[in-house]
């Protein structure tokens, strides 16, 4: 590899937003992934009294060399999803097909997982706790090399120095301790460690949330450079919508363990159809608007996120949804494809203030507008949620499946 020259070249390069390659094959296909954490009673016999449904039926694809953003409130299950993919937890159900051989990360044993750990790596949120304070930088970055015997023992140090240079750190600093670095530098060390195994998929769990804004840009640019150079696919977990917009051509919005809206950048940021996505987007502070003094309409969500131990019936968002109706309590909205690369899980999908007054999903589910069973209608068969996008989708204007 010729990191040195290419890195210098890339420094001069501007960092435009990542673009979507619609024809890239999926490197990771997640289908109906579920993670329930048992809740046990106190006392001597600890009975299982319920489950925290942290992730409940999530499906998506991460394209090769691309990046999917996963956004949502705290506690919506996005970090859990990342930890499931790196198998820090064993999922309750579902599948995660990875790589060319479609190995299912959800069911393979820890022993079979070990070679795959080279391919799936993770960048952690908190650079102050993700580096062992008792190890030198050389040990930290060298650990993956040693564990997987990537390079001969006597070459480890030179490879570590190479990696430090790739992430823009002084390679001479390999024998320093993490406490001697700033937050941004520490995050670079974390990235170098994840990069050491040359993974195909990188799970970035809020990689810049703990950094201050000027450093965020540097780290994001670094990750973009690395993505381009090493063709790494990113699952980018964040709650900063602006950074996700820059980094991810595709975005999935999660709420209480489920994906409520998923689509390419355009569909989400300028054509959001789910009231939750719209509320999230309207909460982003806007500098331009502050300068003009113009007031923008803001959707304020009231109340707390419901408990994932006992989520609301039907649509999980209905307790805080401004447009919820009776059907929302009775039936869970299917994640319906409404555009070429756009899916939304809502009975009343539409742009802000243009939500339809009758549930468009009623006919598909075989119920009437109030959600009661309708003997005249028959449920549509093709509502099962598949990862990825189909060639045909439900057209909101004609209210039927078809091609645009």
């Amino acid at each position: 590899m010729s990191e040195h020259t290419s890195f210098e070249k890339q420094v001069e390069q501007t960092h435009a937003a990542n673009v979507l390659d619609p024809n890239a094959p999926a490197v990771l296909t997640v289908d109906n992934l579920r993670m329930y954490f048992p809740v046990r009673s106190g006392g001597v016999v600890r009975r299982r009294i319920g489950d925290v449904q942290a992730v409940d039926g999530v499906s998506f694809e991460v394209p090769k060399g691309g990046s999917l953003g996963l956004v949502g409130e705290s506690g919506c299950g996005k970090s859990t999803t990342g930890r499931l993919i790196t198998r820090l937890y064993k999922p309750t159900g579902g599948s995660m097909k990875f790589g060319e051989h479609d190995q299912d990360l959800a069911t393979i044993s820890d022993r079979e997982m070990k070679p795959l750990r080279r391919e799936v790596q993770m960048i952690f949120q908190d650079p102050y706790s993700s580096l062992n304070p008792r190890h030198t930088v050389g040990t930290i970055v060298g650990t993956p090399l040693r564990v997987h015997n990537v390079v001969p023992k006597n070459k480890t140090l030179s490879r570590v120095q190479e990696l430090l240079e790739v992430v823009g750190l002084n390679p001479e600093h390999y024998n320093r301790y993490p406490s001697e670095f700033s937050g941004g530098q520490r995050q670079r060390i974390g990235i170098a460690r994840a990069l050491a195994l040359q993974p195909k998929l990188m799970v970035a769990d809020e990689p810049v949330s703990a950094l201050d804004v000027s450093i965020q840009a540097q780290v994001i640019n670094l990750m973009q450079d690395l993505q381009r150079e090493f063709d790494i696919a990113f699952l980018f977990i964040a709650h900063d919508l602006a950074i996700v917009r820059h980094f991810c051509p595709e975005v999935a919005v999660m709420y209480l363990g489920k994906i409520v809206e998923i689509g390419d950048r355009e569909s989400i940021y300028s054509g959001a159809h789910h009231p939750y996505t719209q509320a999230l987007l309207s909460a982003v502070p806007d500098i331009k608007q502050a300068a003009t003094g113009e007031r923008r309409e803001r959707i304020r969500l009231t109340g707390d996120v419901p408990s994932p131990i006992n989520p609301p019936s039907g649509c999980r968002f209905r307790t805080r949804c401004p447009i919820a109706q009776e059907i929302c309590a009775k039936h869970e909205p299917p994640l319906l494809q409404i555009g070429k690369r756009h899916k939304v899980a809502c009975h009343f999908p539409g742009r802000i203030n243009q939500h339809p007054s009758t549930p468009i999903t009623a006919g598909l589910l075989g119920v009437d507008a109030q959600g009661s069973p309708d003997p005249g209608a028959s449920p549509s068969g093709d509502l099962t949620d598949q990862p990825g996008y189909a060639d045909t989708w439900f057209d909101l204007d004609s209210k039927s499946f078809g091609r645009a």
Binding site: R117, E172, Q185, R193
Partner: protein, 345 residues
């Protein structure tokens, strides 16, 4: 605290752009070695006057204990009469078991600086040196074994969670609630009767069983401490990072977690050595520790009845134990302070 790094060297690359960082990388050839938290603690310890003085005293005591045979040879004194060169009790004692040289009845003599033991005629200095030797051997051996046992079980219990943790925690609580003196009292006669025949075997059996008893009732505190620390450490992201990399579990335990537990372990060690010294002396004083080997506690026991007529006989071992335990405790306190940046005096 001067860490050997200048501030601008740390912040420099971060403040500037990436181009500047590249400049920074090339001309720099001098290597600045990082300082581990342990080394920072050691340098802090070196500045603590109490710690330095106490460490000096301890070093002296350890040297005395290690060199005991040479010192005794050089002074021509003997801890027991088995040695063919040793003077017989009749040469050393008058009627009634009173020493014929030195205190209490005669003036100080360099032949026996601390006098002669009444009734047996052995030299008190030799007894003290060999007692010190026994004391430190027992305390160090018991500490090492209980640290190994405590740390291993604590790491396992904290990291394994679930059934393993529940079982280990129960065992820890069980031994913590078991009365130590009662256990020692029950075991001592069993060992004496089992190995009673041969004096030499009995001596070794006593030594091992004493260490064994001290370990049996001494490992739980550290195990519990380590378990608690591991429970909080295992949730830190660097442990998860190691799991994501695929580091084997034993390496996570001993290479990732253990280095972060150095401070509590060092503190526990430095405070448990004096506790074991005192426990050994106490048990020997009660007659359930060592009966065959020289021991400070045993000397204290036999000296109490002579205190009125021969105070030096009692003072020598008592003052030695006191100095050793106080020095060990103060060093332990200083080590704990040195490892904890929040409690700087």
């Amino acid at each position: 605290m001067s860490s050997g790094l200048s501030v601008d060297e740390l912040d420099g690359p971060e403040g500037g752009g990436e181009a500047e960082r590249m400049d920074d990388a090339t001309p720099k050839t001098s290597q600045v070695a990082g300082r581990s938290p342990t080394r920072i603690a050691l340098s802090r310890l070196a500045k603590d006057k109490v710690a330095v003085v106490c460490a000096g005293i301890l070093l002296l005591l350890v040297l005395l204990a290690v060199m005991a045979p040479f010192i005794c040879d050089w002074l021509n004194i003997y801890p027991d009469q088995k040695d063919p060169d040793a003077p017989t009790p009749s040469e050393m004692l008058e009627t009634g078991g009173i020493p014929s040289f030195g205190p209490p009845n005669y003036p100080f003599t360099w032949d026996h600086p601390l006098g002669i033991e009444p009734a047996s005629g052995r030299d008190n200095l030799a007894l003290l040196l060999y007692g010190l030797r026994t004391s430190l051997t027992v305390a160090v051996a018991a500490t090492v074994v209980s640290v190994v046992v405590g740390v291993t079980l604590g790491l396992l219990a904290g990291y394994a969670k679930g059934v393993v943790d529940a079982v280990l925690s129960f065992v820890i609580d069980f031994f913590l609630s078991f009365p130590f003196i009662l256990g020692a009292l029950a075991l001592a006669p069993i060992i004496t009767s089992r190995f009673g025949g041969d004096q030499d075997t009995l001596r070794r059996a006593e030594l091992y069983s004493l260490i064994g008893i001290l370990v049996l009732f001494g490992w739980m505190g550290l195990a519990r401490l380590i378990r608690g620390q591991v429970l909080s450490l295992r949730e830190r992201e660097f442990v998860q990072a190691a799991q994501v990399i695929g580091v084997p579990t034993w390496q996570i335990l001993f290479k990732e977690l253990l280095p972060n537990l150095v401070a509590p372990i060092v503190v526990a060690v430095s405070l448990s050595v004096p506790a074991y010294v005192a426990a050994e002396a106490g048990l020997s004083y009660l007659g359930i520790g060592l009966t065959e080997s020289p021991s400070l506690g045993k000397t204290v026991d036999s000296a109490t009845v002579w205190f009125q007529r021969y105070p030096l006989y009692l003072w020598a071992p008592v003052v030695t134990i006191m100095i050793m335990v106080i020095a060990l405790n103060l060093v332990g306190d200083s080590i704990r302070d040195a490892f904890d940046p929040k409690t700087r005096r």
